[in-house]
């Protein structure tokens, strides 16, 4: 037997004892059986619809405690004809790292529409999560029948709203106990416009690429008030949500940005000022984005915003907003100043320089290393495949997604690009769009589901060393899962972390509805404080970590 030199042996022992890297993601989509290809128009992406891709969602549709997956799909076009209408997919989590395609038995393939986004919520309050799919065409609302099957009720609900619908968010805007719906719209155009489109816009005088959104007319967003009995009514004007700027709307997120107890709305617009609609109470909103500091970047310019994330990035207790933008521009971090005011800190926080080159879409604030703060994941990919002929200029159509580690200290948000040390899952180049974060194997580490154009999704399994964690699963008084608008604050060792339950987030996507908290080395938390949508609270004290904590309203 050969004897190892003492120093080498000591090094090997130390290496074996040391924890793994904080970030390590491996794409398990193929092994997991999550393989539905996202159809995305023509190879040349002749129209913007060919390039926008679609969203993804994590949900527990059968309430077996395991996180399932929903993928939205588009169409494939050859020349000027529809070659294939893609089918959305529902994958049931089998609990052993694999998923089974249950689309057909569940009846949720998308009704032949060109799908865009997904928002999951218990719309009818029967305790089962329903699936709302936005479309280029008529929207679809899959009512969960509770027996593994769904039925499309969008028509009778009055929310089909044909057009180019994109992001959607459910919220109880008027505080009446049921969920209302905001749906963003992108461009006013017809199917014929899409099929006839040719790449005629000059890109740097080198290539002809798809036209838009400049030169196209924006379509108005819509707000639907829940009228009860499974019906919604268009209350856009009455609610003060007129989209006067006809912004090219993409992502939507509802959250209590001003801390007054009711949900506000933030809309990411492509090439137009973003909108912040402040809830004035009673389901009436006021657009305050420009003077609240959340509509434009630090230079006063509107950006081409695609996706967004909302969370407390700097641990000061207030919500911050991160928007993803076009290539050769910063993605923007709007730091919350309190009372619903914001300032752009993209430059000083490092997120701007780190995201300047790629074209960014889906995103999430998520504690990916369980160290107690929110990191950022950003899904990237260009819209012009023609740039592949000039990779030296701004890279390629397929791009690497990014992980920005939160290194904030003393309330000043600070991030660094940790992509290179985040494992093989982030080394792949893809043209990615929708993104959802969720812990599909319940190991306490958040995984990531990413939609990729003309390819299957990536299911990035988190294999980082990680620290302690706590996942909070909220239930309403009748056991209804994850009431939208619930806010959970976890206090431990003098620090507080806050998360909220949302339906509609990222880029046309929906995250795991359970709320995940990374806790570093803490084995207990002092307090889990749940504020329910009706304002009541439930508090649990001295809670052990590394577990899923179920909290039910009224108990």
């Amino acid at each position: 037997m050969t004897r190892l030199p003492a120093a080498l042996a000591a090094a090997l022992v130390a290496a074996a004892a040391a924890p793994g890297p904080p970030f390590r993601f491996v794409d398990h989509a193929a092994e997991a059986g999550v393989d539905r290809v996202l159809l995305a128009g023509r190879p040349g992406k002749d129209h913007l619809l060919d390039s926008t891709g679609a969203g993804v969602g994590f949900l527990d549709y059968d309430r077996d405690g395991r996180l399932d997956i929903y993928l939205v799909n588009g169409w494939r076009i050859e020349g000027d004809r529809v070659a294939e209408k893609g089918r959305n997919a529902l994958y049931r989590n089998l609990g052993d790292g694999r998923f089974r395609d249950v689309t057909d038995e569940a009846g949720v393939a998308g009704e032949g529409e060109w799908g865009q986004g997904v928002a999951v919520a218990d719309v009818d309050g029967d305790g089962w999560p329903d699936i709302f799919v936005t479309s280029f065409g008529a929207n679809v609302l899959y009512r969960n029948l509770g027996n593994g099957r769904f039925a499309d009720v969008a028509g009778e609900a009055g929310i089909e709203s044909p057009g180019w619908n994109t992001g959607a968010a459910f919220l109880d805007a008027d505080g009446d106990g049921d969920l209302d719906l905001y749906v963003a719209s992108y461009v006013d155009c017809s199917r014929e416009d899409v099929l006839r489109a040719k790449p005629t816009l000059s890109w740097r005088g080198l290539e002809r690429v798809a036209v838009g959104p400049f030169g196209l007319r924006g379509a108005p967003d819509r707000y639907f008030e829940n009228a009860g009995g499974g019906r919604f009514v268009d209350a856009t004007a009455r609610a003060g949500l007129d989209d006067r700027g006809l912004g090219f709307g993409f992502a939507v997120r509802a959250a209590d940005f001003d801390g007054d107890g009711d949900p506000d709305l933030y809309v990411a617009n492509d090439s137009d000022p973003n909108s912040l609609y402040r809830n004035e109470g009673g389901g009436v909103f006021k657009e305050v984005g420009t003077w609240a500091g959340a509509a434009l970047d630090e230079n006063g310019a509107a950006q081409a915003s695609m996706g967004l994330a909302v969370g407390d990035a700097d641990g000061d207790g207030g919500l911050d907003i991160f928007t993803t933008n076009f290539s050769e521009d910063f993605s923007t971090l709007y730091r919350g100043l309190g009372d619903g005011f914001f300032e752009d800190v993209a430059r000083t926080s490092g997120v701007g320089p780190a995201t300047f080159r790629p074209l960014s879409w889906g995103t999430a604030f998520a504690d990916l290393d369980n160290d107690g703060d929110l990191d950022l994941f950003v899904a990237n990919g260009h819209i012009y495949p023609q740039i592949d002929r000039h990779p030296e200029l701004i890279g390629t159509f397929a791009q690497a997604s990014q992980l920005l580690e939160n290194t904030s200290r003393r309330g000043a948000p600070l991030f660094r690009d940790a992509t290179a040390e985040a494992g093989p899952g982030l080394a792949a180049l893809r043209s990615s769009r929708g993104l959802a974060a969720g812990d599909y194997d319940d190991d306490g580490r958040l995984d990531l589901l990413v939609a990729n154009l003309d390819a299957p999704p990536a299911l990035l399994h988190n294999e980082g060393a990680g620290g302690a964690w706590l996942t909070v699963a909220c239930e309403g008084p009748r056991g209804e899962p994850n009431p939208i608008g619930t806010v959970v604050t976890v206090r431990a060792g003098g620090t507080a972390q806050r998360r909220d339950v949302a339906a509609g987030d990222s880029f046309l996507s929906t995250h795991d509805p359970r709320l995940h908290f990374g806790l570093g080395e803490r084995e207990t938390v002092d307090e889990v404080d749940v504020r329910w949508p009706d304002g009541r609270r439930t508090v649990a004290r001295n809670v052990g970590t590394r577990r899923v904590l179920k909290v039910r309203a009224g108990r």
Binding site: F214, G215, D243, G245, T290, W291, A292, N299, L337
Partner: protein, 188 residues
Amino acid sequence: MTLSLRALSPLAVLAVLGPATPADAQGAHAPATPAEMVATYHSLADGILALKRTEEDLCRAILAATSAHGQVELGRARRAIEAGDARGAQAAVEALAADVGQLATEGDGAVGVVRKKLLDGGHHHNAAGEAQGIFDEGFVIVTRAAKGRLLESARTIGQMARAPRAEALDAEWKKVQAVVAELLKPEP
């Protein structure tokens, strides 16, 4: 003014040019652009420039009206503060902040739609200023620098809304007025 260029049909062009003349009888001179066409172009140019001035006047009017509205809201805020009407004061101060935001963006979102329409059609009022980084695309009066100052004031005023003090409001409004006065100063 409307001028239909379609009126200049090929026949009309031929009438202006007159009958074709053999080259040898004309000598070696390049043919002159017909005077009637040049005159028409002059008229057209006057019209285009007049329209551009009208656009500028309209944008000045938008700023002046918004500023006047802001002045009214400031008065309303002052009265509400004096009367101890916190809710009224908050509403007025927020309306003032919105006015200042609209000064920064040279109108509200609906004006933004018009601006996009003009840009889509290739019209840049301040093309040279945009190239030099003085103006954002499509802006007619409000420079980038002024926009930045106005946006900052808009947020500062908005942040005062929950507990406004008349002196602080006056001071911030004075800053706004100085920026607007500079923008609306007649060109030499």
